[in-house]
Symmetry: C2
Subunit: 222 residues, 2 copies
DNA sequence: AATATATTTTAGTCAAGACTAAATATTTTG
DNA sequence: CAAAATATTTAGTCTTGACTAAAATATATT
């Protein structure tokens, strides 16, 4: 089971994972455009992965691809690397959210399991990366996502902020000033159906937030 | 000039650099055994590097290889990456000297110039890696080595310890306990020509050290 | 100097993984 | 429901960087 997968194969698996999270199977074309590769190349690779010694994907001619359990494991390993790396680069080297991606994209394929363990431990085994994405666990399970966009809460509901999915420093600072940071407890007071503005209460403070913001703030209902 | 070199080519250049530091040219065989590759493969690659658009090596049939200025730049870039990474991994993730090499060997090929700058700055632009090797500067010059093995000092000479080139934790702890750490000022008192033992004085303390140790302690004469 | 030995080079293969062009399915639409 | 548009696959090519076997050249030994 411990085959050593090439960078290219890891990229295929990672992208198939991301395209099939919704339950659908991944199409040749969709994969090709994500991987910056021609569709014909995808067909070739996918056939190879399907007939690998422990098969990594499930594949039927014009039917798209799915990961096998082995394939999913391999994909989650790469995704874990990627997200841990993003978190680590941001925390230790002052990268911003938009700068880390390319760097992590390259490093994810070459770090050792030892390195993975060390950075995970150094950060206290974080649950999410800087973009708010869940980090697969060390035993390669994708944790359940128990958060929903704040925009989907109804008046009267309570929640705790889990993460903010935004990269604009300006917006982040704005929210931080309001106290809208991970961990904050909030209550939805009012909902204006016409323009989708929500009135939020935190402690004694009230704020009105538009959909452009409430759809980026993810909360755990409580 | 900004070609993007493959990992393989970077490895060739790095190893040619290391084999030619003494002024000699690198032989096909020597390179092959360092790179874990057959001599015939080396010949092929070396021919390719010699006829690259800006040539990276100088090469004449049975005469061995040398780096051109462009090739040397590329080699120093990789070596700088490697040594900065080793220092960084040791300092931030608690790797020991013997653990870092393999990890750095992989990372050196994929980190960005930005990453390089960030870790260099984070460490205060160190001069040497954890093995005591000099780190090429940001403008890709190899600094002059102003240190010599303690074993080559004569009685009456003074020096300051620059680094200790050893990886055994036991030896390092022993030397640390004696105060034989980078920065320490020492004086050579006596030299026993028969067994090459040196008597060293540091402050009011005297120690007798064998060649196996004095050849690993590098000092700057003063 | 002649031969033995070691090193290096040539020539031809191979596997990965991309590509193009052409053939074939599948969808969409009129 | 057939025609056109779109998506996918096949077949064959290319490049990279390894390999083996055999030929050529250097070096060393007697």
């Amino acid at each position: 089971m411990e085959q050593t997968l090439t960078n290219s194969i890891q990229d295929y698996l990672k992208n198939i994972y991301e395209l099939t999270e919704n339950g659908e199977s991944a199409s040749t074309n969709a994969l090709a455009s994500r991987l910056n590769v021609k569709p014909a190349s995808v067909t070739g690779m996918v056939q190879k992965l399907a007939s690998a010694k422990p098969a990594l994907v499930e594949y039927q001619k014009h039917q798209g691809v799915t990961l096998t359990d082995d394939g999913k494991k391999a994909a989650l390993e790469v995704i874990r690397h990627h997200r841990l790396l993003e978190a680590w680069l941001v925390q230790t080297l002052g990268y911003t959210w938009d700068e880390v991606h390319a760097e992590a994209e390259k490093l994810e394929h070459v770090i050792s399991e030892d390195f993975e363990r060390r950075i995970a431990a150094a950060m206290g085994h974080p649950l999410r990366d800087p973009h708010g994405e869940l980090i697969p666990t060390a035993d390669l399970q994708m944790p359940l996502d128990d958060s929903t966009p704040l925009s989907s809460l109804r008046p009267g509901q309570f929640g705790k902020i889990e993460y903010v999915k935004a990269s604009e420093a300006e917006l982040l600072r704005y929210l931080e000033n309001l106290g809208l940071i991970p961990g904050a407890d909030i209550e939805v007071k009012d909902h204006s159906p016409f323009d989708h503005n929500l009135t939020i209460k935190m402690g004694r403070k009230s704020v009105v937030l538009g959909l452009n913001i409430t759809s980026k703030i993810y909360v755990k209902e409580s």
